[in-house]
């Protein structure tokens, strides 16, 4: 039942998307704008079809820097959140740095990373981390902190060490918040990767868009945007799928699992 309704939801999304694309196609047919302003979806698909390896190669690069940036954000972000919760001193230092960092328009820092790290994958990954890590740290720190005080009392009654409390109570308690943060972070990591490609380098969908823009190749810009949209959507659903597997016990997941014995 639940699986069926989930599939229905995805089917519905596809139906809506298809209808929008058809409307777009029809509008271009009807109003005939200059192709340099708005190409029809059919032309965009034809563009993708004509050079699939080109798009795959660049999409692969963007996907890899995004995932690397996302993965690093999760690992570093969780570590920082643990430090924040474990020590008041670390809390002051890390929180101050993060708040300052977050209040800067991070896109403006991108050129600096190119100076520091060159034009390879590293600056893209670094920018992706810089954009994505904030939501991970903030959400996980909140999740680690908002533990039922009685659960902590229980742990202390049984003489649990701080690490054991972290591992057995705080960390599982923070998992739902971690996934909330990850869903935000995955999109930000993609933004960061593209920003990095805009400011330097010779690979990735951001690079494709930049080059195509220079040549007024609007169809290619749209084709790259289309691939970006697909990547972004798939990444988001991937995080959701992992969440569903990892948190069968969580309130937000229970309706899907029902309360039948397993």
């Amino acid at each position: 039942m639940a699986e069926a309704s989930h599939a229905q939801g995805i089917g519905g999304t596809f139906a809506v998307l298809l209808a929008l694309l058809l409307a777009w196609e029809a509008a271009v047919w009807f109003f005939t704008p200059a192709p340099i302003l708005l190409p029809p979806p059919s032309a965009i698909l034809a563009e993708l079809w004509s050079s699939p390896r080109y798009f795959l190669r660049h999409a692969g690069f963007t996907l890899w820097t995004t995932l690397a940036g996302f993965g690093l954000s999760v690992v570093l972000g969780v570590a920082l959140a643990v430090a924040i919760v474990a020590s008041r001193w670390a809390d002051r230092v890390i929180t101050t740095i993060l708040v300052v960092m977050n209040s800067l328009p991070k896109v403006a820092l991108a050129p600096l990373f190119v100076i520091w790290m060159g034009t390879g994958a590293e600056p893209k990954i670094a920018i992706a981390v810089m954009l994505a890590i904030f939501s991970i740290v903030a959400d996980v720190a909140l999740g680690l902190r908002s533990v039922d005080p009685d659960a902590l009392a229980l742990a202390r009654v049984h003489r649990a060490t701080g690490w054991r409390i972290l591992w057995k109570v705080r960390f599982p308690n923070a998992l739902p918040a971690l996934f909330v943060g990850m869903k935000v972070a995955i999109s930000f990591a993609l933004v960061g990767a593209i920003v990095g490609e805009f400011v330097g380098g010779s690979a990735g969908l951001g690079h494709v868009i930049l080059i195509a823009q220079g040549q007024f190749d609007t169809v290619r810009v749209f084709a790259a945007l289309f691939v970006l949209g697909v990547i972004g959507t798939l990444l988001f659903y991937m995080v959701e799928a992992v969440e569903r597997l990892a948190l069968p016990w969580h309130v937000s997941q229970r309706s899907q699992h029902g309360s039948s014995p397993r």
Partner: protein
């Protein structure tokens, strides 16, 4: 019987935003080895405060608490505690929640699995060992919490209104079970409750507390024979104990008639 826990001149002042709050003042209490003692008193008289101090969770601000002569400054070994809410962790099955008591202490989970199952069976939860807390009723959840407290065979069991959130029938059930397990193990229990009848039914002694500030006013010996069937609550001796305690409460102005 020897002395297990001794509180002398116990005082507790909380610092709050609106100035200091005196929760306990000059509390004297002796808990004997192996007895079931209830702390009975109106809301806000400091029962939880006293119990948490005995547990070594929040120290008193004055006076002393000793366990077999040694001051309690952190949770002692071989202690179990049951709270008003069951405090089961949602991500663990009922069995794993019970085993948590061992895991927290760094004891091997394996070695305690058989005892966990035996306890769950004893409390009628055997068939629910693999379920999650949210699949159980309130009474079943509190039973699981009691199993968890009993897992490592505590010598001291502290219970803070464990049945306060349950309906009357479930409460009767659990009172009966608690009175049974009290019989087959030499275990010291300190039990917090609002209910005079519950305190009399379960206890060897009832320490009555009063507010303003919180203190122990009087300790009643409950010499009803054990085992105690639920029907003992209709006996004249039972009524006599209840009346004595209620009389004290009305003299203290806590219940008005």
């Amino acid at each position: 019987m020897g002395l297990c826990i001794e509180v002398t001149g116990g005082g507790k002042t909380y610092a709050s935003a609106r100035g200091p709050v005196t929760a306990l003042a000059d509390v004297g209490l002796e808990v004997r080895e192996g007895e079931f003692l209830s702390l009975l008193g109106p809301s806000g008289c400091g029962k939880s405060t006293l119990l948490r101090a005995i547990a070594g969770l929040d120290p008193l601000t004055s006076g002393s608490i000793t366990l077999r002569g040694a001051p309690i400054d952190r949770p002692p070994e071989r202690m179990g505690m049951v709270f008003q809410r069951d405090v089961l962790l949602d991500w663990r099955s009922i069995r794993d929640n019970v085993l948590l008591a061992a895991e927290f202490q760094g004891l091997p989970k394996r070695a305690h699995e058989a005892r966990a199952m035996a306890l769950l069976d004893r409390f009628g939860l055997g068939a629910f060992a693999n379920r999650h807390p949210w699949e159980l009723s309130g009474g079943m959840r509190q039973r699981a919490a009691i199993c968890r407290a009993l897992l490592c065979e505590p010598e001291i069991l502290l219970m803070d209104e464990p049945f306060g959130a349950l309906d009357a029938m479930t409460r009767d059930d659990l009172n009966l079970e608690l009175s049974r397990i009290q019989q087959d193990g030499a275990r010291t229990v300190v039990f917090v409750t609002h209910s005079i009848a519950e305190a009399v039914y379960l206890s060897d002694r009832v320490a009555v507390m009063s507010t303003g500030p919180g203190r122990v006013v009087e300790v009643f010996e409950i010499d009803l024979p054990r085992p105690r069937p639920l029907a003992i609550r209709e006996s004249p001796e039972f009524a006599r104990h209840v009346a004595a305690i209620r009389g004290l409460f009305s003299r203290l102005g806590i219940v008005k008639e």
